[in-house]
Symmetry: C2
Subunit: 445 residues, 2 copies
């Protein structure tokens, strides 16, 4: 078998024009009247985007692969026997009225990297697979595709329960040609995986403000969601004794105020968001008997995230007691905080140095697939700047030069990981600085 010299592969660059042509084409699939992108998971638009992706994969001479969780990939197979697979990707779905860069840039860049490697006849010791994960944005179940692949979903994840109805999700899967009960078959054996890398927009302002071209993600914030219901007693707003009221909304308002203060005081970089309140019965002249809050805490440190969760519950109980309310906290989801793997972090940094891009370490405060994949294979993420930090909005934008830079860092990183992975040892930077990164040989999470 023939392997091109490392130096040649490290000098590979993506075809920026071809990448841009892809971007223009897929932008039209789900383009809303207001200029935003409406391509929620398993919608006709999302299905059309997947079909487009499959056509591009075939055009490139790559192998189309899909699985029982609806994840779709293009594979550049290795000629080596029993080669492991290096995954690279993101997601083509969007939030409702989202932006045109979130997720899609990662998938298009992954495909472009495979095309560049194939054209260079880079016979790598690993399969490289560009993957689109199903419902990353959580239209039905957040990060469904990557969780299924990582084996992080229980066997009954799609079953209805007293509080969840997945009928719409199952119906959407069937419409998209999937068999809902088979999603667990998408699980991959970690022994067959060589790693995972994702290119994504930052969705925040730090790179832009710090004037850096590339963000090297050290870890992904953990996220815990609760639905918290305060129960009081309805009553005529005019005639009920002021000192005997049990106003559910008063407890809820105090909880929101206190949690914001408490997180700033005690949890440094931790994040608290109350994204919704639903009040019952909801009339001008009736004391609210019920207020249900959508509550979220995030932290990059697992222990502190757990402490925040405890604080949410205890603060809710205190506020309820103050206004003689009952409170029912209901856990919706825990997405774990995840450290990126040192081997992937090193490969990304080396690539930045090699390509002379300014870079900085940062944590991701948004959730991403490596949150789950890092539990089964060495994972990492590359961030590129978001103009004004705007995301999930039609004004979401990244300078095209930054997209191309990110795609080249992704390609360079893939080469490093592919070669290092199979123990080929030191990988030279173009700058000439030689070193061996032994930590990069570790496979465990």
């Amino acid at each position: 078998m023939h392997t091109p010299p490392l130096d040649r592969l490290l000098q590979l660059r993506v075809n920026a024009e071809r990448l841009y042509a892809d971007f223009l084409e897929i932008q039209a699939i789900g383009l809303a009247d207001d200029g935003s992108l409406d391509r929620v998971a398993l919608s006709p638009q999302d299905v059309a985007a997947r079909q487009w992706f499959a056509s591009r994969i075939e055009e490139a001479g790559l192998t189309v692969r899909d699985d029982d969780a609806g994840n779709m990939s293009g594979v550049l197979p290795s000629r080596a026997k029993r080669a492991r697979t290096l995954l690279v990707g993101s997601h083509l779905d969007s939030v409702a009225n989202g932006g045109h860069y979130d997720g899609v840039i990662g998938v298009l860049a992954a495909l472009e990297c495979l095309r560049a490697l194939k054209e260079a006849d880079a016979d790598l010791p690993v399969n490289v697979e560009a993957i689109d994960f199903t419902d990353d944005e959580g239209t039905f179940m957040g990060m469904f595709g990557c969780r299924a692949l990582a084996g992080a979903l229980p066997p009954d994840a799609l079953s209805d329960s007293g509080t969840a109805d997945y009928g719409a999700f199952r119906a959407a899967m069937i419409r998209a040609g999937m068999q809902p009960s088979d999603y667990y078959k998408a699980r991959r054996d970690p022994a067959n995986l060589a790693g995972y890398v994702e290119l994504h927009i930052e969705q925040g302002p730090r790179l832009e403000r710090g004037d850096k071209q590339i963000g090297v993600v050290l870890g992904i914030v953990g996220r815990t969601n609760y639905e918290i219901t305060f129960n009081g007693e309805a009553g005529h707003s005019g005639t009920t004794d002021m000192y005997r009221r049990r106003d559910a909304l008063r407890g809820a308002a105090q909880f929101i105020m206190r949690m914001h203060e408490l997180v700033r005081e005690r949890f440094g970089d931790g994040i608290f968001n109350c994204g919704n309140i639903q009040v019952y019965p909801g009339n001008f002249n009736v004391i609210p008997s019920r207020a249900t809050l959508a509550v979220e805490v995030r932290h990059v440190d697992t222990d502190l995230l757990n402490s925040m969760e405890t604080a949410v519950i205890s603060t809710a109980r205190e506020c309820a007691a103050t206004f003689r309310l009952d409170v029912i906290p209901r856990l919706i989801v825990r997405f774990p905080a995840a450290a990126m793997h040192p081997s992937v972090i090193s490969a990304i940094k080396d690539s930045c140095e090699d390509l002379c891009f300014s870079h900085t370490d940062l944590y991701s405060y948004s959730g991403h697939s490596p949150q789950f994949l890092s539990a089964v294979t060495p994972s990492g993420m590359i961030f590129i700047p978001s103009i004004g930090g705007i995301s999930h909005h039609r004004d979401e934008r990244t300078d095209w030069n930054d997209v191309v830079n990110g795609a080249n860092v992704l390609l360079n990183t893939l080469v490093r990981l592919a070669l290092v992975h199979e123990g080929r040892g030191s990988v030279a930077r173009r700058s000439g600085d030689l070193r061996t990164d032994h930590s990069a040989n570790r496979h465990s999470p």
Copy 2:
């Protein structure tokens, strides 16, 4: 013309059994499965209740009258020429899933008073009219019927505007046989009115706690409703800089907390209620860009009510400024604070003394028809105890003895007002205490 001696009329009593029979019959019209009353304005149930009421009026040999606002009455006409009309009534409609005493007791008692007066051949110098007001509870437009009668609605009150859609109201009026554009014709010339009295359950616990049989209403609380919208900026809850967030719900929560505290500190008996919040876009992981609050303040003192309104606006602006939000206060309705007329207050008190019922002065913290009728004719209200203060609920209840007592106070009061009204001078209490109440001759509000 023949007028029975005053003493005989003051000794008249309602027929408690007949009143109870009516109560049992109308209770069934709109009885919900859970035992509550579902008879919202202009619903088939409300229309059926009106038909039942018209039948009872005819059975009693009284004259059925209706007007272009859907108000329906039974009239006991005076034989005197150009007699003025003494109104007595309440409403047959309920809130959704309301109780069986609110409003309906006042209408049934009014009808029973007219029957008692007719049977006694009480040829009074005024017409006495038992009236059911349309949509008192505000299914479409609170106190619509009495406002139309008092001329308190503008000519375009039923026109749609940028913020209001009265299509459903107009359709319901047409289904009930009314012509929506004609409601203004229901206005009565104040010169033809002799007064208004209403019997109603207290909807609060004060009479029960004070162990009083009758509440003499001195005034009705004024009520001002605002819809207050805080506008911030949506953003990803994880990635948006904590110090640059413009979280609309944070401003709303602070506003609710502060208003409750401020009203207790500065406005004594004033009432503040925030009955609803609607949050947009309303996701766990999106910073709320908009929070719209349903806000209400009540006070029995007009000046203090105006100060409370000012405080609502200024506090909203302060909270908005704290979190860098915009705020839009939108006035929904101002129901004026209204003092009851001294002549009617005196007549009710004299009746209580006459009938040996314990009584107390109080203000009504719920809105009632005299709020608008007091602007055009001397008005007053009689309250009877609500068990546990419960109202707008299937458990709303008043001891039947209290209902009968209230109906007898109403009858006695009507006799006093009818006779005093035409300048017949002193009205003897049964106790023998004679006095002349000159203030009772005033007609102006």
